[in-house]
Amino acid sequence: MAIFFDNNSTTPLNAYVLEAMMPFLSEFYANPSSIHTAGRKARDAIETAREQVADLIQSHPSQVVFTSGGTEANNLAIRGAVCGMELDSIAISPIEHPSVRDVVFSLQKQRSVQELAVNSNGQISTDSVAKFIENNSNFLMSVMLANNETGCIQPVSTIAEMVRSSAGFMHTDAVQAAGKIDVNFEKLGVHMMTLSSHKIYGPKGAGALIYDKAIDIAPLIFGGGQEKKLRSGTENVAAIVGFGKAAELAKEKLKENYAYLLGLRARLETQLKDIPDIVLFGDKSERLPNTTFFSLKGIDGETLLMQLDTQGIEVASGSACGSNNLKPSHVLAAMRIEETLAKGAIRVSFGLQNTSQEVDELIDFLKKFTNISTSH
């Protein structure tokens, strides 16, 4: 059976989550906007899920807006806040996910857009934040909580404090961080936060925007007025229920899961260091427990990836959303990693279904592969 080491792109659905979802496909299928008993049952299920999701990041259920996923939540946060409050400028980190980058750059015609700086350890420079704040007021800043490629955790609470003290607005994409590290909406001090279900063993097709109700967000999608008019369209009840259950499980087992994933990674990285010419990215920073991003000098990432694939080991060469193009990772470029080295980058992201034996299989293969590659 194949080994899936690409859990930052998506995760398998947890069996308990599936069990929680199934009745809402077959038995309790009514439209949650219907006022009959069956409809109210679906409504109640959504409200329970709202509590579970709020609980994962210690926010209030009334702060949760369900969306079709992380991409939509990022679009809603950025376009919604910028248009809803008529903000003049936007600053983002250069390592954001395309769903943040692309929506920000789509607003470039009407608003000023600036990129912050990132250091070679994959950390956003707070100096660049300070510099931006000096020259801007009435702005939105978006910095992800943890990067999808390097796993580096960003100083979001520090940045949010700087942003708040100058009356700006702060969004964080916490899609990769939630469920893997302790995330506290209140303590982070951000105005908006994006979450995704399928990164935490929930189903695809559900996400959430968590927001501070003091701010005005303009909706992206108009219609029936669901989700307090912030997101129209019949709710994806089964997926939302699954998202709720996944959030509950993630919260319950946060420490246990953290330790388990960290153990797998330590096993990998300790052995990786035996391989000559290996370069780890962002490993000097605090990282998510499950992510390792590395290059083998002189070896092309795509080649290695295909070789691994023939062995039934699935990894990523960058973010999945960017896999259609073979440009080097924009994250590594921003960290000023040299292009040939960046092109060799492989991301291993562990999930709860992975085992130590699987890690050893990867190591065995890499050792064999580097011996062959360097011997001729």
């Binding site: 194949a2 899936f4 690409d6 792109s9 998506t10 398998p12 659905l13 599936l18 199934m22 496909l25 077959s26 038995e27 299928y29 009514a30 439209n31 906007s33 219907s34 006022i35 009959h36 008993t37 069956a38 409809g39 079709s68 996923g69 992380g70 991409t71 939509e72 990022n74 679009n75 996910h97 395309p98 769903s99 692309d102 929506v103 789509s106 189903p203 695809k204 097709g205 992206l220 999608i221 108009f222 219609g223 029936g224 007025g225 129209s232 369209g233 019949t234 709710e235 994806n236 089964a238 997926a239 295909m306 694939d309 039934g312 699935e314 990523a316 999945a320 959303c321 896999s323 259609n324």
Partner: protein, 404 residues
């Protein structure tokens, strides 16, 4: 017989077992759960195959090319993408849009948003039977009209608009034509090789597929361009970004496949049940059928019970899950804007019940429904002073009510 009896198939439908089975194959760890955008490994490829098949299944039902299908999170998003996408892309050509007062909120509220952005919208009133008068539509068109948006089947009264004829008109004037087909796909034949429709919105959960899933048909010849409303990752040829919910896409594909195969026989059975329901109650006093009966989707019956308040009737009919108006607006106690638009007065609009029959409705359920309706309406009317006055021959419309 299991209670409550579900007669709210236009609000949503249960997922067909065959669909659920397909979806499960793409959900669990031992199966295909990859990210379709991961082109580099096999997990991603298996998923891509499932999506390709689903795209074909959806396209097949409406006789379109799979390349013309864009996945969305549902018909609401499809309607938003179609209308705002055209408006934003072609605004230099004109800023006028024509639609109808009885469209779904997803169309009307999107149009209202465009009004705030400086577009001009004409909201046509339908005739009393719910159908549009094409001459009135033609008269509303202007040189700066860029889009006509008319739904195929109305969600409340089930009437079927003449999409083919409107398409001819739109094409002859070089105006884009969008159709909200959320309520018609799988119920009414759609042939996009024949119909001159440029954009068409679909929902999965109205035809036994999953919620949270829809599609937008975007014609390739002649080409229609849209400004994306959601950015990031460039999925769906740049028109709609975001990780595709594989199990939902596959579920929609299977639902559309089943619909294509079974539509004809299913429609006959459903129409028979609908007619049985109507025949079982239409001898009651003071009841009114809303919308044309002939140009109507087979599973819909919308009836106003004069002198009975719709919400109380729904409560009294607790063994039958029905709507007064559409689900999306049922949270408000406003009378149905659709019934108001076809000229029903407030009282009749308030006393309407929408029965929608579907795949799992049985004859026994219809018999029981007829019985309960007759009983409950009679009971509620017994409690109504207005009914009493009506029975005494007082013309209620002539009464001057005292202000308090």
């Amino acid at each position: 017989m299991k209670l409550p009896i579900y007669l709210d198939y236009s609000a949503t439908t249960p997922v067909d077992e065959r669909v659920a089975e397909k979806m499960c194959q793409y959900l669990t760890v031992d199966q295909m759960f990859g990210n379709a955008a991961s082109r580099s490994h096999k997990f991603g490829w298996d998923v891509d195959e499932g999506i390709t098949l689903a795209r074909k299944q959806v396209a097949d039902l409406i006789n379109a090319d799979p390349k013309e299908i864009v996945w969305t999170s549902g018909a609401t998003e499809s309607n938003n993408l179609a209308i705002k996408g055209i408006a934003h892309f072609y605004q230099s050509k004109g800023k006028h849009i024509v639609t109808c007062k009885t469209e779904h909120k997803a169309v009307l509220d999107t149009c209202r948003q465009l009004e705030r952005e400086g577009f001009e919208i004409t909201y046509l009133a339908p005739e009393e039977n719910g159908l549009l008068d094409l001459a009135k539509l033609e008269a509303a068109l202007r040189d700066d009209t860029i889009l006509i948006s008319i739904m195929h089947v109305n969600n409340e009264i089930g009437v079927i608009q003449d999409i083919a004829a409107i398409g001819e008109l739109a094409r002859s004037k070089k105006i884009f034509f969008h159709v909200d087909a959320a309520q018609s796909a799988g119920k009414v034949p759609i042939d996009l090789q024949e119909m001159k429709v440029d954009l068409m919105s679909f929902s999965a959960h109205k035809i036994y597929g999953p919620k949270g899933m829809g599609a937008l048909y975007v014609r390739r010849k002649p080409r229609v361009r849209l400004e994306a409303q959601m950015h990031g990752g460039g999925h769906e040829r740049g028109m709609r970004s975001g990780t595709l919910a594989t199990h939902q896409i596959v579920g929609m594909g299977e639902a559309f496949r089943i619909a294509k195969e079974e539509m004809a026989t299913e429609n006959d059975r459903i129409r028979m049940l609908r007619d049985k329901l109507w025949n079982g109650i239409n001898d009651m006093e003071e009841i009114y059928l809303n919308g044309d009966l002939e140009h109507r989707v087979s599973g819909n019956l919308n009836v106003s019970f004069n002198f009975v308040e719709g919400e109380s009737l729904i409560m009294a009919l607790k063994d039958i899950a029905v709507s007064s108006g559409s689900a999306c607006t049922s949270a408000s106690l406003e009378p149905s804007y659709v019934l108001r638009a076809i000229g029903r007065n407030d009282e009749l609009a308030h006393s309407s019940i929408r029965f929608t029959i579907g795949r799992y409705t049985t004859e026994e359920e219809i018999d029981h429904t007829i019985k309960i309706i007759r009983e409950k309406v009679e009971k509620l009317r017994e409690l109504s002073p207005l009914w009493e006055m009506y029975k005494d021959g007082i013309d209620l419309s002539k009464i001057q009510w005292a202000a308090h």
